[in-house]
Symmetry: C2
Subunit: 680 residues, 2 copies
């Protein structure tokens, strides 16, 4: 027991290293596969180069932001340094570490994902379904393992460097949040600017099919899939992952759970075991020819979940004291809280699937509403998105209620840790999506046999569902993580209460509630402006490059990638300033209680808007696919035209504004937590 | 002084009677005008009969609801009667009075408004602009005077019947809320079902112009304008009006403002003086030929506002003690709080105008986005709606902050009273809109000279702006009223704090925040379903009535009115159940604190969604009008088609779901306030 107590950070770091080693194995497994013929390699290289170019440019802006933020921390640290509970300037160290770990995870994941696409197509051509699934999933799993591996390794090191100083370690979470801001917001703008540009000029104006190599924006579009669903989603869940663990540790310490700090080490142990469970789960992702890839992915997730629950039981039983906090709670209660989080995460995913999959009533009704035109389709989609907020909110409330009932505030943080314990395989399944999507694109562009496209299409179709479920999971985990961080904030602020009967708190609630609306409007408009740059450029290339439409000349792919990148990075300045400046301003001017109101207001409307926008977008997308599947007149019908309009409205909803809100609510909370000494 | 102290309810009732007498004068002024030729009288009678038929049917359902609710109050009253602070069964008496007064106000207002339309058209024909404005505004002012007259008279009587028992008088507000639920939600569904039905089959399918008498839904559509903007808006502001006064009285009593109950009588005096100020203001609404009607309406509003401020100063100075609550606040502070409310109301109206009028940048940008199609128009409109939440929220927060800083919790309720003191003229200006709109329709249907239509069009154009401003004012006043009622609720519940650090409160916040989303989805879908009934019926009449298109046979207007009525009343059952049942359920199961969380969550997201939906809808509407004015290709262009789609999406946003949220947040709060003894 003593051994475990003293070496928990080491165990965490060890599990992190294990995940990274497994990522190396997976990477080798992917790169060992032949990437196919010359044309395929060429396309793959274009996507890979484009993705790396995007990341490179992003790092430059990110570096300015991170260094600036570190300087602010150090400056504030020395400025308020005289006070006992002041902001410790050393917080800048874990901050830089957190940012670096998240950047590294994203870089490794993107590097392999953009190499796995052509190899997936080639595996489909040479060996069939199972091998193709294996390559695509392994590519995704590299991202998953990098996220949890670098997350827990970095956190373990940070805790070892600053033992017993959770306020300093909080910096790690802020670093992760800063990278997530760039990954999700910048990435979200990038991916949709490229997508809209490619679709509007290529498909609509020039009349060439999706993924046609003559389209100058086609590479940017394929890069965008990776930027959004690999790097963006990865950085989002990296943030939630470390945020939930850090808040559980902070609450374990401030509430003094267990006489020997058992409450502090349990989150680390749960996360460490979650990595093992995720690794074991990956081995269950396998399928036969013509079988359903969804089942294979589900099998992996379920195995990981069950293993995680079993391990959680053992850890709670044998590490935690039987009762704590004057006997109010038991170690079984902590186990229940953790399972409540896991179940909530799974349920939210299932509810998301119900509202966004073409197999169920909501999407079918939206498709039917397309028969009376675009307006009814838009209204129907928005109404579905709004309706779809109800069940996830009830699930989240039940999760919070159960966790709190059985283990108090600590239980809420543990529920977040529980939900995120299987992050490794969740990210793997999610990142698998863009890889198969890209594989399909490469098969199309390289003119591979129809049978290959059939396999990649069946892999991609599953990817659409997993993407929607992943978004639901990301929102749910963001909500629980933000709430856990919020609890840590209230403890750190030392306020007695954040009382809604106090009008200052009400003002905070109103302003906080408004921020996700304003933030969403900004990101949505940003997509519009960026896309218009892209449209202009694609039109120019079609006009000025002779032989482009005939296929005798090559378009300038790199320039389109560059335009998306520049636009995305410029457009994210204002939303980023909003997310960073408003909580600091409110905290300094109106105080810690009003800031608490602001955080909870933003949490509530943020979660609601994120669910509404993600689900409406997903539902429109699949209503269009449902019509394309031959319903309501199929492709080319008036209903289809209405459905395409709905899908275009939904694009920034589900891929830019919705997911960006996750970052907003977490980032504002962690900023408040780190800078709380300034507000007292 | 003693005289004022003892007779404040009588003074209030007296001012109410004054307003009603003035309404009689105005009614006579309207009915004295000739309604025009036989055709005009016929159409007017159809609209009038349709409107009265709608009200009649509504009353039957409303009666069931009100009697049921009264029975619940009495039953709960006797059930919890044993306890000291139990729900008093006598609360049912003011409840019934409040419902009756609101119904009466709506009935009188609708009765005159549907008689003023043809008379406005005839006045435009015979005497020109100023007389037409005079008739239309007088018609609207009958509604305005009925609202404030019956509101204050009823309240004065209720207070006289139950002196010193604010918990019983609260029932009056609940009665008003119940009627508002039917007026706003049922009315909102009615008006848009008729509008969409008339537009989609008449204008689009049959290709006949707006307001064409061959369209079977044209009368229902004209009835709908009155149902929405006269009865609906009237019942909404009636609810805010009495709710704000009641909460100020309740807080004045529970906080013991002034040794002799001065805090209790000041709200009544402010409201009474506001009636006088509104009456005087109406005399300033006059214009010359070819002049701008907007300026005339503004003049009336400004005069009332300035008079109201002056009177408020005198009342606060001479009735309130110089300092109160241990010298923490002054009577000047109360005056400032009241003015803060008035200024906030005016500013929110101006901000609404900025975001929804074709004269400013936002609407012009939306119009420009129509050039790239429906999808970009929809995105642009939603982004504008979301952006437009920021400034009103800041204004509301400044209002709350100032009111609280200068006069505490009591100040917040006084701010609401101040904002609503000029309700008489605000409702008059708002109800003027549908009367001029109807006048234009009658001029069109009766084939009057083009010059008449020009006058009515210029009156109607102003009506669009006043409608948007009125909506902004309604939301702002709903927010302040709900907040004031919420303060009264927390006092009545006697909870020490509603602490966001308590996860039960967080659960309340989440559920409350979700309700406006679910409620909006329900009302939006209800419009879709009701409209489809209407569409089927209009198509049937075109198909089955021979000679209809040729103008030789008359359509069955009454049947269309009937279909809208039935659909609206059926469709409002579920949203009504939600609004009534959820707060009761949460209060009973999770307790008074969680219910407090629910109310504030609903308040925050409700206000935000209402602003977003109303402004997006208004902006889309005016973007279409802007294009029809000859920009971006004008009528018949692709941009115009995109704009029409946006306007159709915006219709349920701005006329059904958005305004209905006002009722949701007020109704849930007043239910909680009345039934609070059950939750303790």
């Amino acid at each position: 027991m003593d051994f475990i107590m003293n070496s928990a950070p080491i165990i965490g770091a060890g599990a992190g290293i294990l995940a990274l080693l497994f990522a190396v194995v997976l990477s080798k497994r992917v790169t060992a596969v032949q990437p196919g013929n010359e044309r395929m390699v060429e396309i793959m290289e274009s996507i890979h180069t484009g993705a790396m170019a995007f990341l490179g440019r992003q790092y430059k802006t990110l570096a300015i932001f991170v260094v600036g933020m570190a300087a602010v921390i150090v400056a504030c640290g020395y400025f308020v340094g005289g006070m006992e509970s002041g902001l410790n300037p050393k917080t800048a160290i874990p901050f830089l570490m957190g940012a670096l770990c998240s950047v590294l995870a994203g870089n490794i994941g993107m590097r392999i994902a953009t190499k796995a696409n052509a190899r997936t197509a080639n595996a489909a051509m040479e060996s069939g379904m199972n091998k193709a699934l294996n390559v695509a999933f392994s590519g995704g799993a590299v991202m998953g393992m990098s996220v949890v591996g670098l997350g827990l390794l970095g956190l373990g090191v940070a805790i070892t460097l600053f033992p017993g100083q959770p306020d300093i370690v909080n910096g790690f979470s802020l670093g992760a949040s800063s990278v997530a801001l760039f990954g999700r917001v910048g990435g979200g703008i990038y991916t949709k600017a490229a997508d809209v540009g490619a679709d509007l000029v290529g498909k609509v104006e020039a009349g060439i099919p999706e993924d046609d190599p003559r389209n100058p924006a086609v590479i940017a579009d394929n890069v965008g899939d990776n930027v959004g669903d690999v790097a963006g989603m990865g950085s989002d869940l990296f943030e939630s992952y470390v945020g939930s663990i850090i808040s559980a540790i902070a609450l374990g310490a401030s509430l003094s759970i267990g006489a020997n700090g058992e409450g502090v080490i349990v989150p680390l142990l749960l996360a460490a075991w979650g990595i093992v469970a995720s690794i074991i789960g990956t081995f269950f992702v396998r399928t036969g020819e013509g079988k359903n890839a969804q089942k294979a992915l589900d099998a992996g997730t379920y195995v990981s979940t069950i293993l995680s629950i079993a391990g959680t039981f053992v850890i709670c039983k044998y590490v935690l004291p039987e009762t704590f906090l004057d006997g109010r709670y038991t170690n079984t209660g902590v186990f229940i809280a953790s399972v409540a989080g896991l179940i909530a995460g799974t349920l939210i995913g299932k509810i998301t699937e119900y509202y966004t999959s073409g197999d169920y009533k909501p999407v079918k009704e939206i498709a039917a509403s397309c028969e009376t035109g675009t307006a009814t389709n838009v209204i129907s989609g928005i109404a579905t998105g709004m309706t779809s907020t109800a069940m996830p909110i009830v699930v989240i409330c039940c999760g919070i209620g159960a966790a709190y009932y059985f283990a108090g505030l600590y239980g809420i943080a543990i529920a977040a840790v529980g939900m995120l314990s299987t992050t490794g395989i969740v990210v793997a399944v999610d990142a698998y999506g863009p890889i198969s999507d890209n594989a399909g694109g490469i098969a199309e562009m390289a003119g591979l046999d129809h049978s290959v496209r059939e396999i990649t299409d069946s892999l991609d179709a599953v990817g659409n569902t997993t993407a929607a479920i992943g978004k639901g999971f990301a929102i749910g985990s963001a909500a629980l993580t933000a709430l856990a961080l919020f609890s840590a904030y209230t403890q750190a602020a030392g306020v007695e209460s954040i009382d809604i009967m106090n009008p200052m708190v009400v003002i905070g609630l109103f302003i906080g509630g408004m921020l996700p609306f304003l933030f969403s409007a900004m990101t949505m408009s940003a997509v519009g402006r960026s896309a218009s740059h892209m449209i202009t450029e694609v039109r120019r290339q079609f006009r000025e490059i002779p032989g482009l439409m005939e296929g005798t000349a090559k378009p300038d792919y790199a320039r389109c990638v560059d335009i998306s990148t520049t636009a995305a990075l410029n457009e994210m300045i204002m939303p980023a300033v909003l997310a960073v400046a408003v909580p600091l301003f409110v905290g300094l001017v109106l105080g810690a209680e009003a800031l608490g109101g602001l955080l909870s207001g933003a949490l509530v409307t943020g979660v609601l808007l994120a669910i509404m926008m993600s689900n409406a977008g997903g539902a429109w997308d699949n209503a269009k696919k449902y019509i394309e599947g031959g319903h309501h007149g199929g492709k080319g019908s008036d209903a289809h035209a209405a459905a395409v309009n709905g899908d275009t409205v939904g694009d920034p909803f589900k891929d830019t504004s919705g997911p960006s809100i996750n970052i907003l609510i977490k980032l504002m909370t962690i900023i408040s937590l780190v800078f709380v000494p300034l507000f007292l």
